[in-house]
């Protein structure tokens, strides 16, 4: 890759990292509050989750449109599932999210299958899920940032934030533009988050490179296409060969 593109690539990678760290930083006070909540000798009651609401609401802002804590099953003493989640509302104060938590109900949908829950649970590390259509919450194309939480050595749930893909795109498009029409930011499956090309629009899968395989080794590729990871986020910058 020629020097100009290297420098511009460096800028993009740094810009993405800054944006990502900015979101995770907003979650830190919630983590502290959750740790306090879970620190007692017995499991908390569902209504104690309301104690998190000040920190959760404070986390909203900038590109963060939803935030909160989602419990692993049986983290609470009186309910199998539970969460405290707030979302921004246009022209008004934040609103609290309620969805059916009763497994016997027809409208119950199991949140424990979503990647934003399972990946932090299984890896012990924070994760960014998406871009995906979040039908449990936003009904929009979303990126969900989640951090695992533990209680007495066991996985107790995740603290998280939602960001609309279009806002992420808006923040990064200007920085991506100098790389021309073959640059895109993709997730670890090769799904495009932001792109300069209508051929590789947000949501499409990059097929010219097996991104999922590359992610294992992150070894340099042959040919003109380059892939660079952005910090430790599951996001990479793809720069296709000029044709």
């Amino acid at each position: 890759m020629d020097e100009t593109r290297q420098v511009v690539g460096d800028e993009i990678v740094e810009h993405v990292s800054t944006l990502v760290e900015g979101v995770f930083d907003r979650l830190k006070p919630i983590l502290v509050a959750v740790d306090t909540l879970l620190a007692g000798p017995s499991r908390p009651h569902a209504d104690e989750l309301d104690r998190l609401s000040p920190q959760v609401r404070d986390a909203l802002g900038g590109i963060v449109i939803g935030a909160g804590f989602v419990c692993a099953p049986r983290t609470l003493s009186d309910q199998e599932f539970g969460f405290q989640w707030w979302e921004t509302a246009p022209g008004g104060p934040p609103t609290q999210l309620f969805i059916s938590l009763d497994p016997a109900s027809e409208s119950f949908l199991d949140y424990t299958r979503q990647s934003w829950f399972t990946v932090p649970r299984d890896t012990g590390r924070r994760h960014i899920t998406g871009p995906y259509v979040d039908y449990l919450c936003t009904d929009e194309y979303t990126l969900t940032f989640t951090i695992p939480v533990r209680r007495q050595g066991s996985f107790a749930g995740v603290v998280g934030a939602d960001v609309y893909v279009r806002e992420f795109e808006r923040a990064l498009r200007p920085v991506l533009r100098p790389l021309g029409s073959r640059a895109a930011l993709v997730n670890a499956q090769g799904r495009v988050i932001v792109s300069n090309s209508i051929r590789q629009v947000t949501g499409s899968l990059v097929r010219e490179v097996d991104v999922a395989s590359w992610w294992m080794t992150q070894a340099p590729l042959r040919g003109g296409t380059t892939l660079r990871r952005c910090g430790d986020a599951p996001i990479a910058l793809v720069n296709s060969a000029a044709r």
């Binding site: 309620f98 016997a104 199991d110 259509v133 919450c137 936003t138 009904d139 799904r191």
Partner: protein, 244 residues
């Protein structure tokens, strides 16, 4: 508020409250309104701001009152577009049985519901075939497995989750929102909580998932349309059996 409600009834219901126990008082007023049928089942409540203004209390108080109503299963709050707080308890007794719902709908309406649902779900399946990743397929497979052993209300739930996952795998917020609306409006009818559910339903889901996984868009759409139309045919048969 329901059109045609008398001015007297409306103003009495929303007259300002006394100081003490405001959240409980707001909740009690709303419960009365629901029980008396002044607020109909599935009706959307006025916004929190509107209720606060009419009762002469803060929005925080209104919110507390809504928590009480939610806990009592009288109100359901839905997020997103078309969201808000909705009454979930019909006045005067338990919800109509599925037999009543099915009797009330005409064959023509059933066909129309089927056409609409098949169009959305089918289009979503075709897009999912082009756009889904390994993770998406894994979730589809989990949802498919659910239907195999499902009975009663689990059938409705498994169907709902499967079709939502397909719409999400299609990477389409609009189709997902359509799917959510359709499930809300006629999911209860399409995926009736009957015994062991549609025979072959699980096999149909497996075939759809396989087509999506293979990237076979046209097959995925056709199989999904057939799946929905089979459900509608079964309903039509039941409708005719139920008689007038």
């Amino acid at each position: 508020m329901r059109k045609g409600m008398s001015h007297g009834a409306r103003s009495a219901m929303f007259a300002p409250l006394d100081q003490l126990g405001r959240a409980e008082a707001v909740a009690a007023r709303l419960v009365d309104a629901i029980t008396l049928g002044l607020l109909a089942d599935a009706e959307r409540l006025p916004s929190e701001a509107e209720l606060a203004a009419q009762f002469g209390v803060s929005t925080v108080t209104v919110r507390e009152a809504l928590v009480v109503l939610r806990q009592r299963g009288l109100v359901e709050t839905r997020r997103g577009r078309g969201g808000g707080s909705f009454v979930t308890a019909p006045a005067g007794g338990p919800s109509p049985s599925w037999q009543d719902s099915l009797r009330a709908v005409s064959l023509g309406e059933l066909r129309d519901i089927g056409d609409h649902y098949a169009a959305i779900a089918g289009a979503a399946a075709r897009l999912a075939a082009d756009r889904s990743s390994t993770e998406d397929i894994q979730r589809l497979e989990l949802a498919t497995a659910d239907l195999r052993s499902a009975t009663g209300v689990e059938v409705a739930r498994a169907e709902r989750q499967f079709h939502l996952e397909v719409a999400a795998a299609a990477q389409s917020p609009r189709l997902t929102q359509e799917e959510v609306q359709l499930q809300r409006a006629c999911g209860g009818l399409l995926w009736l909580p009957l015994g062991s559910g549609e025979p072959g339903g699980h096999e149909e889901h497996r075939a759809i998932t396989e087509a999506i996984s293979d990237g076979a868009g046209d097959a995925a759409r056709r199989l999904t349309e057939d799946h929905v139309l089979n459900a509608v045919d079964r309903l039509a048969g039941l409708h005719l059996d139920l008689g007038p």
